[in-house]
């Protein structure tokens, strides 16, 4: 673990027009670190989707990114409403997005499937009324 770096970020839940900030910061950092473009691409896609979900569904939270030479481990933790049915939420096209955020182009119900597609391992720990923690692992390829 001596070679690993940890970055922590708070995601503001108030302003969903500002979402994507953290993903863009992390992408720039990973580029500076010289990680392979394919790894960076996957991290960027998965992080954007999870970051947006935290903002539009859970009123913000925290993101922790741990970078080691072999793996990128990302933890998204929020204290939002939780996900009542994970299988349903993972289905392509399932969305509870509000009319307001649909107008901005969200609500295709493709975020979680995109996250899964772009990570090597994904876990979701959620409790209704308490919050959701999503963890991702990407191998540095």
């Amino acid at each position: 673990m001596s070679n690993s770096m940890v970055f922590r970020y708070d995601v503001d839940g108030d302003d969903f027009t500002l979402a994507g900030e953290i993903s863009s910061k992390v992408k720039k950092r990973l580029k500076q670190l010289g990680l392979p473009p394919e790894t960076i691409r996957k991290v960027a896609i998965a992080m954007y989707e999870a970051e947006i979900n935290m903002v539009i569904h859970a009123n913000g939270g925290t993101i922790t990114v741990e970078v080691s030479p072999e793996t990128i481990h990302i933890i998204f933790a929020d204290r939002g409403p939780g996900i009542p049915d994970i299988d349903k939420a993972m289905e392509e096209g399932f969305s509870t997005a509000s009319h307001e955020v649909r107008e901005l182009g969200f609500g295709a119900g493709m975020g979680l499937p995109n996250i899964k597609k772009n990570s090597d391992k994904m876990t979701i720990d959620t409790k209704v009324g308490e919050g959701t923690t999503i963890e991702l692992w990407m191998e540095v390829c």
């Binding site: 027009t17 994507g20 995109n114």
Partner: protein, 110 residues
């Protein structure tokens, strides 16, 4: 194909991100939903959309799009234009529809 050539051939109105204007583009994606663009927009693609908010620029930057054309005379929100300058994502506006734009791009050989 050079973005600047496309811009002049289609009489696109440059709005923001002028620093990225010398870029080459290699194809086109049309759509208005962020997660679909996130998964289908490819590096170097032009993105035709009617969405005008900041997320268009965020997705474009994360996916390294070649540029954005706002169809149907849409114009970007002020913070989106600002972000496009910062990220050097060229943004254009056109009175043409997405269909008409795509047709013209195909005629140009994109």
């Amino acid at each position: 194909m050079k973005l600047s050539e496309i811009a002049s051939a289609l009489e696109l109105k440059p709005i923001a991100g002028a620093d990225g204007m010398n870029r080459e583009v290699n194809g086109c994606y049309i759509g208005d939903l962020m997660s679909l663009a996130m998964s289908n927009l490819e590096e170097g693609n032009l993105w035709i959309t009617i969405q005008t908010n900041l997320n268009v620029i965020a997705v474009s930057a994360l996916k390294e799009a070649g540029g954005v054309i706002l169809a149907d005379a849409m114009t970007p929100d002020a913070n989106a234009a600002e972000k496009a300058d910062e990220e050097e994502i060229p943004v254009f506006s056109s009175p043409l529809s997405a269909y008409q734009l795509a047709k013209r791009l195909a005629e140009l050989g994109l």
